[in-house]
Symmetry: D2
Subunit: 370 residues, 4 copies
């Protein structure tokens, strides 16, 4: 194979990502090649570079991507029943569960599969097919990948604007369907997950959403896009009780019907419990990386009879759900305004922007002029 593809590679923890070139192989039977148009940068990529998760190195980063599909065996129908043809613009799921373990078959909860491949995270760039992440001109999609065509009227940039926060929140909200309709909701966190949760909760029938988060720039963006009914900056007031009181003012006397934790900070979970009404639901989405223990009074769980639901990552079906939600979501919110684009060469610069919080969402555009 003579054709090559650039790829942004993390070679050692702490070091900047480097552009490398790999040959683009022919796709396997049942597989395909994805020509990357957009690849998102996620907070998890920052953590990966910092060496906070155990992954093989070197690795082509990029678990959020969109592009043109090549080599797809026809006929192909995606999970939404849409026909996908070779050459179509598609989004693809970042992971391929094994399909055979107890999580996949007995418990039907594929996000808990311990053996799943994850593009851009647990596939070494040293092993064939090398191009196993989205920060590249091309990615090799292995058999078993899930690709989805976008609905009419939904732009590629809108689809990538939430990155993996889209399916993450689709998965999380799917765990508590009865808690959302007509609910007063508090969302803790104003990063992509928090913003996605705020938008999707309203879309699924919440009566009112109070967003608590920071930094201030993110709340400004939320306000500009009309995300959340009330927005309360974190740290102002600094006192927890004052903050709780202010949140409560925004949502009624006894507490929220549903509190969605999207912060990643262990102590935030203590406030999650405090903000829920008796009989309320707490959705703990943000505790993705292990940041240690916090001091928590479990009497609150019994006395208020709370439902505290963890939610871990997502599987293919959640991409389908997310894509299904895009027509109405893009009607209601200008998602594209969340995005700041960078060419592939400036991947490290884009990572730094995410680390510093100066952008809402950084997206690499390999096809763009540098």
């Amino acid at each position: 194979m003579t054709e090559g593809s650039r790829a942004a590679v993390l070679e050692s923890f702490g070091a900047p990502v480097q552009l490398r070139e790999y040959p683009v192989p022919s796709p396997e039977p049942g597989g395909a090649i994805g020509r990357v148009a957009y690849a998102g940068i996620c907070g998890t990529d920052v953590h990966l570079q910092e060496g906070r998760l155990p992954i093989p190195l070197p690795v082509v980063l990029g678990h959020e991507a969109f592009g043109r599909i090549e080599g797809l065996e026809a006929p192909f129908t995606d999970l939404l029943g849409r026909e996908v043809n070779d050459g179509d613009q598609v989004i693809w799921a970042s992971n391929i569960p094994c399909g055979r373990c107890a999580a996949c078959l007995r418990d039907q909860e594929r996000t808990l599969c311990q053996r799943r491949r994850i593009y851009g995270i647990n596939q070494s760039a040293e092993e064939w097919p090398h191009l196993s992440g989205g920060w590249a001109d091309a990615i090799v999609l292995r058999p078993g990948s899930s690709v989805l065509r976008l609905p009419a009227g939904v732009s590629a940039l809108a689809a990538i604007s939430l990155g993996c926060a889209g399916p993450t929140v689709a998965h999380a909200l799917g765990r508590v369907p009865a808690a959302i309709p007509h609910a007063t909701v508090v969302v803790q966190g104003a990063g992509p997950v928090g913003l996605a949760a705020s938008m999707m909760a309203i879309q699924l029938g919440a009566a009112r959403v109070v967003v608590v988060g920071g930094p201030p720039r993110r709340l400004e963006i939320a306000e500009e896009l009309g995300i959340g009914d009330v927005r309360i900056p974190l740290g102002e007031p600094n006192d927890v009780d004052d903050r709780l009181e202010r949140v409560r003012d925004g949502m009624g006397a006894t507490g929220a019907d549903l509190v969605i934790e999207c912060t990643g900070v262990p102590s935030a979970v203590v406030e999650t419990l405090a903000l829920a009404r008796p009989g309320g639901t707490c959705l703990v989405v943000g505790q993705y990386t292990d940041q240690g223990a916090t001091s928590l009074n479990p009497n609150e769980i019994t006395r208020k009879q709370l439902s505290v639901e963890g939610s871990w990552a997502f599987s293919e079906r959640d991409y389908a759900t997310y894509v299904e939600s895009l027509p109405r979501l893009t009607e209601a919110f200008e998602l594209e305004r969340l995005v700041t684009e960078f060419p592939l060469e400036r991947a490290q610069e884009a990572l730094d922007a995410v680390r510093s919080g100066t952008v809402a969402k950084a997206v690499l555009s390999p096809e763009a002029e540098p």
Copy 2:
């Protein structure tokens, strides 16, 4: 009214209960008089005497009772559709929710009603009708009380043997119906709540129950009655990791499908999370009184995608469920063997026995000879 009734009264915190005498009034329209045959003593009664919960004093204790109903307006059909006639032997629910608040009507979760009357706990003996607890010859059942006739073949002693642990566990298990069938279950705690949870989980289709608890005498009783498939004494080994390993040996590699916390000890909840498998369910029943905070890592909730369900007390329906479960429960377990009877005069002695854990279940029998 010239007739009188003895009643065991808590007059001040820390002091022994005293026998007093009150006149027995005519029942109100919609109310009735209960002639007490058996009244249970609960761990909460110990806490009440110790002043650990805010209640009015003096109070006639006793929130678990069974006896003959008098003055019931006919026709009366109980929640199970059984006809109840004046003079029948019945069990009655300890509480009367207000029926008008958001908890009662909007959320249909009457156990969370903030305004409910609770016999033997929040009704002052100084106010009419004075006889508002079960440790007495007679109790005045107010309008709105729920009474239930026992099914054929179920003895009164069996019905009182679990006390309020019966409806407590009926309520808790009712919150997680899909988590019980075919489940591997760990029950933390071998008091009445833990024993009731172990028996009822099997009755509702659990595949296997591992009981972790103490003191040793309670595990012996559990063994004698055939409660639990595996019984692991608390504190032996003393090391948490060793204990977890031993529990895991009893239930399979990845953890329990369902862990039921029935201990009242905050740090036990940390083990609750540790013992559950990814995708598992944690039922937090035991954190009834506020015993303070514990150090807990919320990453476990997200990473293992746990469902952590609090469960608070019970309402009338849970008495109905408990009574419905008694025919099969008494077929499988000799419940009466749990009971140690005391005459009403020896109420304080019975309380002391519960405090020291020398009995599995203490029950007062006002009609017995002293």
Copy 3:
């Protein structure tokens, strides 16, 4: 009491309603007087006049009403936690379940209470307090009535515009919370129930709603208000298979995720099953009156593994849910445009308009000039 109130009374089946006058009594303790501002006319009122349901005669009709509350005992907090004061404008629930039966307590499904009072339907005008229906200047609200204050920004006319279809649909959709998000929905019927279902399904996160109904005027109104994504007139084509095909064109290949039957026609249920996808949900709301049997193949239920959920009427909580939904509903749809107002004197004329389908929603305004 010297003050009187006019009331529109059905004295015998088939006869026109007549204006009568009754004295307005002082409210009972726990009760209140409602000064009626608006009272809706429902298809059921047409059925009542035709003698198709067994009710006591004479009866003051009117089970949908809104007005000023007098004599309310303060403090009063409604099911949504809103403070209600004497003199406030409120909506009130049409029924008072007994609160004591197995349906009310054991099954927590108060809409199935066999002993509930229903204003305007099962309360004879011959018995005190006579004024027991909403087609009147005043209605006597008995102890146990549920009243709700409207949220800020919601007009009385908007609140009454859906009549009892609002809580009916709130109740029905509450039975299938997991079936609505991202669903393709077919609504059969374009009367108030069908229109309410179409609007609320979108509000709760449905991806797309196809309305099948008639007569043409109702679909025009639906189109003017933006109700439904696709609207298919009934009877055009007349052939069932053609209609099914056309509906399927509007919603994707294998059938709808959710079909909501709101027609009252037995044979429509056959199409309900036919329109659902394998694994789909059918919500049977419309079969309120007994119109006889239809020929139905139950193989479809097993083979497609359908969930077929009946939904009967509503209880107080459903009024609360409906009122909670009004702020977003009125933001999205101009509900007031559904209403045609009539003065109380013209109640029979309004009934005739409902019978003939010449109005979307007829509402009596007792305070209006005749």
Copy 4:
């Protein structure tokens, strides 16, 4: 490959099955060979022979089987986390869903996969590997097959005794977990599915089971094994209302909490609805083959607010659930007594016995002497 295996083949509809011989191939990577010890005969096999379902011919029949596994790639862990080694005695699931369609991935309901392979039903014996049914000495298990080791203390004969009725009922009951605990249950039908439903409902916490079915011999077997609390023969009385009354006598005034239809007769579904209490659940399992329409009044679904749940076949997970249930099931019921064994040569005779209802369960034993 020189080794051969006998196989009982259906060559044309209506003709007797014939013994043929096929070579046993080496297993594919990820596949295995099953040496059949027991293969069940199901009512569906009777239907297949009668040509009532569209299948390819010739076909090696047999979708229920148990035997020794050969050629399994180690290490292999089954869905229950049990290690399976080459040479183990195992049960295997009859079907292999495609794993890629919307049913498999989006809806996580693999029993609705339209492209799944089913051993003994939709695999032609003319195509490689020919040995694709269980009525044979050997069956070729394709990659993706699910095999399960039996729990300690469960005999092979007990495991095969319910045939595919075991996973069918496991799947069906898994659809209504909240409806079973403490429920009064009516099971319509006393074939393998009805008997399995009666046993499993009790195991999952039903309070009482009333079995209505025939022929009389089956009810006798049910009685001998202690299946059901009450058994009512079908056709005696012949009048439907009398039968309903008699069933109601066995379960309480307002109807059953749960009715499980296991008959295959369309008109039985009318009784299913009639027997359920208001708010009850109907599980329609038996309408597997299309037997045409019946006259049914859908008002019953709305008025009684029924949940009518279809249940179609089963997937691998249901085998896992069934195997998990076997230890307690075999403790409670002597399952082996349901079985009548036949050697492979007498497959047609065994089929005839199933058709005529003279046996409860016919099982072929290829390893037995003829």
